[in-house]
Amino acid sequence: MSDKSTNTNGLKHETMRNVIATAALAALGLLFSASTAIAAEESQQPPGEPASRSTHVHHVVLQDTEGNKITPSSDPTMPFSTRLSCGKCHDYKTVGGGWHFNAPDPNVAPGRPAQPWILVNRRTGTQLPVSYRPWPGTYRPADVGLTPWKFVSTFGRHMPGGGPGEMPDDDPQSRWLVSGKLEINCQTCHSGDPAHDQVQWLLAISEQNFMWAPLATTTIGSVKGSARRVPDTYDAFMESNQQAASKGAPVVTYDAAKFDAAGRAYFNTVHKPAPARCYFCHTNHRVGPGTPEKWETDEDVHLAAGLTCADCHRNSLDHQITRNYEGEAEARGKPDLAALTCRGCHLGDGPETSSGRLGAPRPRHVGLPTLHFEKLSCTACHSGPAPRDRAGRVQTSRAHAIEFHGEHRGDDAPPYIAEPVFVKQVNARDGHEEIAPHRMIWPAFWGRLKGDAITPLSPDAVIDAADKILETKPAPEGEAAKKITLISREQILETLKALAAADTGAEPVYVGGGKVHRLAGDTQLTSADHPAARPYSWPIAHDVRPATQALGYGGRCTDCHARKSPFFFGEVAAEVPADLGKPETLAMHHFEKLDPTALTVWALTFEFRPVFKAMLFTVGGLMAAIVILYAFRALGAILRWVGARSARG
């Protein structure tokens, strides 16, 4: 019994041990599975991209470009490197592949044409759209001698760093060793500090203080001095603060109060940039007669409603910021992106009564024939300034540096960009053509014509050949002094002669005003059409106007369908920074590829439309009355017939 009991107990104990062991194994297994699952889940998160929507407080150990830890008392006190300081948590290479930085990468699809950089040189009458992205109508920087060094020196003021600022460059005139690379300045967009001063970035670029530029914009330190003043052999790492100061080289002073006990600097950083940060590079400012002042105009209706740019223009760590044009979703292979277009957000995919994302109102488009949705982009009626008899001039942050004071941003200052110009474009979603509002620039540059091709010349090359000819005339006194002095027809003639003197086997030409100008003898210029003289335009998406200000709202068909309506007949002048006589003007329908006669006839019909409507409503009503009357009579006949049959039994 006892044996049995013992055995039984032993069996029980053994069973219990087995159960415990099994349970332990199962628990371990579960734990392992859970930890594996968590690890797998964690591995799906991109590095440096916290899943939380809370604000991560950025206490950062700063490092210079050589990896040395920075303290306020370091000597030499070097600027911090974003590549090493921010890159510890946020993969710098991934960020650097983002839309703001990847233009020079030939493997990146250019996407829909957008605003290019515009090379402006008043002395040579040059305004040339350039871009690393191969948008048709733009020139590559190298075409006009813009090495990465020159590109950054020229346009770096409105770049966020990275891209050309960190490219290999064999330009013998470059001074990268002195200036340092122009690294991505994360704070350009992500600073939440009201004292963040992006203007300091421009000053740093102009002083060749590339390496110091990110620091200069912050409040954790300040930069004094200029890399421009020191020789090509200057090495900032080899000079003490005192030595650097004595040479006028950049010297850094950190605010020790911004560092904690662990030597970490505090950055007021936000995940989602505020619109003001975007505006620094993406502001558009209309100029010219009759233009309302800034306080008289409203900003984009979405911003006024409380949205921010980044609510729609989103990105992950890869910084592939969505541009939200139709077709982008298909091009990027991300169908969900379609929800961020105008249609996606406002129409949604839900039932008829549902709004789109973020409570976007669903438009009713009452009385609007659906044909308009095929022929027009949403922006045609809703975006940009309302069309005027003559397309106005607009200045942009990147083209005119309007964030800074100076004569470069007077109303007459080139480059001359016209808006809105209604242009027929291809909708990348399905390839259909539609009319959309654009900004437009007419190229003006010197070049050499060989066969049918024109190769642009850099402004420097032109000045080398015609320095004296292109000397700026002294500005007259008084009010006229505020006017921009444009190169004259005579200067163009003489410059062409000077360029022709250098026998290159190609004929010198000046492209401007929609024509190519060539020498015809010693005293004449001839002008002709050429593809290189055609304007470059890019679509306007903002500012979006309130619905009530959309073209055609409330049955205002004659906003567009009227004789001489600006939408079809507004004029676009081929303005360039050269005095070529009265600029050629083209009507909007030229860019819309529409027949002006048909437009006029169609517009005429709208003058009779009220009569037409009254007449046809009367006709329709009478027809309906006749049909209904006789339907009742037929019904009466049926009833009589049925009654007669039933009476007969």
Partner: protein, 199 residues
């Protein structure tokens, strides 16, 4: 190819085939009977009005269906011509309705012309005292109903009542009504041809 394109081609082709078969089966006989039957020709002004209405209908059919069959929207000059022909057709049909409605009452009274023996499509056999057969009466009222639909769908799309879904519905009703009108017109043309003994 869109559904409407397919339906248009099938319906148009089908109607033409049915009429052709009907003609082969009974056309010659009906033509002979039609030639033998008494006629009540229309007066000069009615003929003119009828011709204008038919002509405007042909213009509407061409301008409306040519792009539709090609899968293109109606726009540009074709749209303008279409819109210009529409009032002529609508007014013409309205006046014809005024003139002919009493000549072709619904006619279900016992002994009325409409109930006399003879099938639809047999103009000679059904020619009544009113001058119209049953087939033509049906066609007349179908055309009146469809024309009313065609006019009102476009007119309502021009006023500030219907949003995009409503506009799309009105357009769908308009074009399918137009297709039905084309079929009715084909039958009408066939019957007229038979009645005139053109076989």
């Amino acid at each position: 190819m869109t559904t409407f394109q397919t339906i248009t081609i099938l319906a148009g082709g089908g109607a033409a085939a049915v009429l052709a078969l009907h003609f082969l089966a009974a056309g010659r006989r009906l033509c002979r009977e039609a030639k033998a039957a008494p006629r009540r020709p229309l007066g000069r002004w009615q003929r003119l009005l009828y011709a204008v209405t038919i002509l405007s209908l042909l213009v509407l059919v061409f301008t409306g269906f040519w792009p539709a069959v090609r899968g293109e929207p109606l726009r540009g000059w074709l749209l303008m011509i279409h819109n210009s022909a529409a009032p002529a057709f609508a007014i013409g049909l309205l006046v014809l309705a005024f003139l002919w409605a009493e000549r072709r009452p619904a006619g279900l009274r016992p002994g009325a012309a409409g109930l006399r023996p003879g099938g639809a499509g047999a103009p000679g056999a059904t020619a009544s005292a009113t001058g119209f057969g049953r087939g033509q009466r049906l066609i007349f009222w179908a055309a009146a109903l469809l024309a009313t639909t065609l006019v009102l769908t476009m007119m309502f799309s021009m006023v500030q009542i219907f949003g995009t879904p409503g506009q799309e519905l009105l357009f769908e009703i308009h074009r399918y009504s137009a297709l039905a009108m084309v079929l009715v017109a084909m039958v009408h043309g066939y019957l007229v041809a038979l009645a005139r003994g053109l076989g």
